[in-house]
């Protein structure tokens, strides 16, 4: 049986009580260390497989405190509070005696209530009408995704600064692995830094803190399957070395699966 590279990358084995151990995966490398999205996904997986876990992911904040280096890593998973319908988690990724990434998460039971999607739907041409491009080949992790940019592809040689930082794209797992909470977590970090678009070229930038709100339940993710999702991201303010970007991930059938926000440092 072939294991999908994403599942390989977030495979965790039991460690000391309260700890699990994983390993970075060559196919999910970023410029330095692993893709932040796959690290975030491993943290979610660490909670999901914890014996005390109740419910599904509802909110997640991941702080990228220090670069994760290639090799093994240890994740401390701690439930800090269990309520009747939700549960709060603290998760830390350590390597070589140093905290590299930490996260808080809320898991919860979902129940039927009045529901509505107020965010206006993103419209885009069908994915098959758009050439798949992706990110430059040196961004190894991005090869795991098929990305078809409707607007705001990463600037290439000779690109000019843009007035808008908005990217809209169809994306799917290249091997059409079915969507789940771990892979949706990873996709919430699929957007390259918005400052690239505004400045017309890549420049040093990195996510400091990533927050994702999961609107879909497991059944809705199952229904989305391995099909394209429609992703949009934009920035709000760039100021004195930091900017924020907000994103949304829609299923092909029009369900808002997640909203996501991040704070990014940049130099220029």
């Amino acid at each position: 049986m072939t294991v999908h590279p994403f599942d390989e990358a977030i495979t965790l084995e039991a460690g000391e009580p309260g700890w699990v151990r994983g390993q970075t995966h060559a196919e999910w490398a970023n410029m330095v260390g692993p893709f932040g999205g796959v690290t975030a996904a491993a943290l979610v997986r660490a909670i999901q497989t914890h014996p005390e876990r109740i419910g599904e992911p509802v909110a997640l904040t991941v702080n990228f405190a220090a670069p994760v280096v290639d090799g093994t890593f240890d994740i401390a998973v701690k439930v800090v509070r269990t309520n009747r319908t939700n549960q709060h988690w603290l998760v830390e990724l350590w390597q070589d005696g140093a905290l590299r990434t930490n996260a808080t998460a809320v898991f919860g039971h979902r129940r039927d209530t009045w529901s509505d999607t107020e965010r206006p739907p993103v419209t885009a041409p069908e994915p098959d009408t758009i050439t798949p491009t992706g990110l430059p080949d040196m961004v190894v992790w991005a090869r795991n995704y098929e990305m078809r940019y409707v607007e705001g592809a990463i600037p290439g040689p000779g690109a000019q600064p843009q007035q808008s930082s908005t990217t809209t794209m169809w994306a799917r797992d290249r091997l059409t692995r079915g969507l789940d909470f771990a892979s949706l977590t990873a996709m919430s970090d699929i957007f390259y830094p918005r400052v690239f678009l505004r400045r017309g070229a890549p420049s040093p930038a990195g996510t400091i803190s990533l927050t994702t709100y999961f609107h879909a339940d497991g059944a809705e993710l199952d229904a989305a399957g391995g099909d394209y999702v429609l992703c949009r991201a934009y920035a709000n303010r760039f100021a004195r070395g930091y900017f924020d970007q907000s994103g949304e991930i829609w299923s092909r059938s029009g369900a808002l699966l997640a909203t996501t926000h991040q704070l990014v440092y940049f130099k220029d």
Copy 2:
């Protein structure tokens, strides 16, 4: 000398090493326990007064794990990573042997870079042309603010469900206390739950997780002073007991001081 009630509410005294102690304040009470915004502000203050702190608040996520009860509380403040230009914090508020609120924060040095505000400015009539209303008197903490609603005031008796969850309002400290990072943190939780507007009436709802990105530096906050800020919030999706809301806080002179997001549970 009269101390402003906000400063009273976030006054912390030294405790055991790594701990500070505070006390809930009657004027900042919510329906149950204190206003979440003032709790978040106390956590920020706890970091700000820590001897190892560098820089200014950049990103904050506060998780409301359990109700804070009236009385004293103890805050554990821990720096988990200090980098050259930023610093990661873990903060926990405890009462009676139980964790009530936890938070992660990123503080950082700011430096001059290319800057731009991409978020379209919010336009509104001058505050003096709008009647101050606020929130119902039973919401004690809200009496500390003057709130002038441009749209989306809290639904009163006989209100109907609305198609939009957007609230736009001018707000300022009633005693025109000057803005700082702690008070901006508190104001990032000034929006009542968006589900009230959509359903046409208040209903059980509470913030689970609150993330705020601080775009302004200290000088920009000083410049905003005690004048009105223009606040806007809206929801993206309501589904199965949870919804998210996003907000923005602008200075009267048009600077985007903060963007803020929260995940809220609701019943209906």
